[in-house]
Symmetry: C2
Subunit: 80 residues, 2 copies
């Protein structure tokens, strides 16, 4: 089962990549209010039960995929 992990910088943290993308889009006339840039990790876990797969993905995200000081993460089940 595929689980997606979305990792985004915390709101309090300066997100220099997000700012750069925001400025580039604005400079080229695109209407944008704010932009945050993070990571997306797709985990293929050998587990068919959704709850168990999500629990394992959470454990992996907490173990090594995100830095709790500056980032938050969200999980999602990837269809197909």
């Amino acid at each position: 089962m595929k689980i997606g992990v979305k990792v985004l910088p915390r709101k309090e943290v300066l997100d220099s990549q997000g700012r750069a993308v925001e400025m580039t889009l604005k400079a080229h006339g695109r209407a944008i209010e704010k932009c945050r840039v993070g990571k997306y990790i797709e985990l293929d876990i050998p587990e068919t039960d959704t709850d168990k797969a999500l629990a394992r993905a959470k454990e992996m995200a907490e173990f090594t995929l995100h830095n709790p000081l500056i980032e938050t993460f969200q999980l999602e089940v990837v269809k197909g």
Copy 2:
């Protein structure tokens, strides 16, 4: 309206970050089949209509957020 852009390396492309994460997780006893690492970009677009916001996000993703040679992207509406 917030639109999330998930950018992942194409399957044919060597994903060195994904491999590194996969090896690290395996080395620490986590059951994982495959792992791909990409980007997640959250765009805050001043537009209340979902279809229009998605169309704008698609245009921005094609314009500068992803490299079509080596990456694919998916859009999603971010709730809350």
